[in-house]
Amino acid sequence: MKKIVSIVLLIALFATLFTGCKSEDKIVLNVYNWGDYIDEDIFETFEEETGIEINYETYATNEEMYTKIKKGGTQYDIAIPSDYMIEKMIKEDLLEPIDLSKIPNYANIDSRFKGLDFDPENKYSVPYFWGTVGIIYNTDLITEPVDSWSVLWDEKYSGMFTMVDSQRDSIMVALKKLGYSMNTKNLDELEAAKQALIEQKPLVLAYVGDNVKDMLISEEAAMAVVWSGEASAVIQEYDNFAYALPKEGSNMWFDNVIIPKGSKNIEAAHQFIDFLCRGDIGFKNADYVGYATCNTETMKLIDQSLIGTTYAYPDLKLLENFEIFSDPGDFITEYDRIWTEIKAK
């Protein structure tokens, strides 16, 4: 008898190992996004309007997101990668096609952001935000003009600035400073960039991700390589900061919403994308995260004084020598190796 009881108990124990808590009545949409890149209040609005619950997770780099989706074992229904990563994910068949007829608010998206090279027909992605990479600096602490990447190799700013802890963006800074394309597939150019970054390393205060804003505000760092929206968020709060678009050119990027392959809630994901494309929701997000919207309806709602600023909606003439990242294909292993070697030094 005892034996039977213990066997039954064991079976029960094993069985519970494999059951999560599942409620069948409610659709739960798994959203995977950059940290601090959406106004989380809108989830409630979305749930009220559609009854669909949002499960929210964040990542810090495109590469981190890619690895998690590529290696499987995760169930995301929405993610928001950047240009080159979308190109790579399309090539590797990691994305579900998007049916634009189910997204009426797609009409709100400025045609400037549609049909970009990484997804020429917007078959897989819908624009979310766009921006640049540049240098934000504290005008109290840095009085000389900042207009070039070369300030980041200047001895007098030793220990005063941070680089961005993202492989493509940091290598981009060195490539652009040296006058090369940031999409180079030339190994000599890449090695030169590596040397430049290793040379620069003693001057760098830190390689940082999301906490760069805190470091600037607390004056831990006087200058930082940042994505424009971070600059925007800081500058709108504090007067003593400015954002420079380096004259050698930089990265102009576009983050689009995608549906990863294997999503079980494709219908709901479409609903969510349509929701994001709504003018008022776009405004809430733009207002919260500080990045530049791709949405014409949202454009009408934003603070018009932002138009023409370097950090939010710059004059397009300033962006003429800016590039968009493209996926280097298999050559990415060289970027990977070089980034590892820079960090290991």
């Binding site: 005892k2 034996k3 213990s6 066997i7 064991l10 124990l13 094993f14 780099t61 590469e63 981190e64 890619y66 690895t67 590529k70 290696k71 220990g159 941070t162 802890d165 492989q167 390393k201 760098v204 205060l205 830190a206 390689y207 940082v208 991700g209 607390s218 004056e219 831990e220 298999d330 292993t333 990977d336 190796r337 980034w339 590892t340 070697e341 960090k343 290991a344 030094k345």
Partner: protein, 278 residues
Amino acid sequence: MIKRLSSGPYLFWMLMFVIVPIVMILAFSMVTVTSGGDWSFSLSNFSRAFDPIYIAVLGRSLKIALEATFICFILGYPMAMILAKMPVKYRTFSVMLFVVPMWMNFLLRTYAWMTILGKNGIINGLLSLLGLPNVTFLYTEGAVLLGMVYNFLPFMVLPIYTVLMKMDQSLVEAAEDLGGDKRTVFRKVIFPLSIPGILSGVSMVFMPSVSTFVISNLLYGGQYMLIGNLIEQQFLVVNDWNFGSAVAMILMLLILASMAIMNRFGGGNPEERGANLW
């Protein structure tokens, strides 16, 4: 029969969460994947790990982990002795004080150090109040070392304290009766008897120190690559799980070797020591 059955969950646990993952890491580390997705057996991941750059990373990790362990020992042993000698009334409370910080999230504690050590942090605030110049604490090797010592010190103190507490006081009294002065008693009786606690403390500090990536990431701003950072980067950033697995295997062997060396050091009954170690 029941006895055997009741070990089932434990065996299952071992198999699923210890044996299978290790075999998987080993398999990953001995394989290279071409861009087309073809797998082939190769040891190139290991030979790459012996590139001077990565040897330097390994050396750096070992050095700072040994330093952290040494400092923890120097600080921890007297603390454990003080604790063990306290009257019971205060002792429980004091031990609690050691344990309570561990209830707080490890990340949070490390973040707190960032605000303490920062350029405009608490320490520099005090310095400037005294009219002294600012000192850069954060984003230096010292900050990482401090983070390790702070986070792992309880793991050194508690096992040594436990051993000292359990020690048969009559042995100490006997030594004293036989004319040993305090120093001799400590050297000949207390210290040798506390070795199992020291060994367990040393390994519990050394292992997390040598493999950490969070402390170095936060307190040295992602510039200071320890072997843990290298592994993390291979898995999360550059997506080279094979090389990452090879480095993880090497780290594992290293820890295994250091444990073997430590077991040689300590005399006494190995079984007793094993029990204390875990």
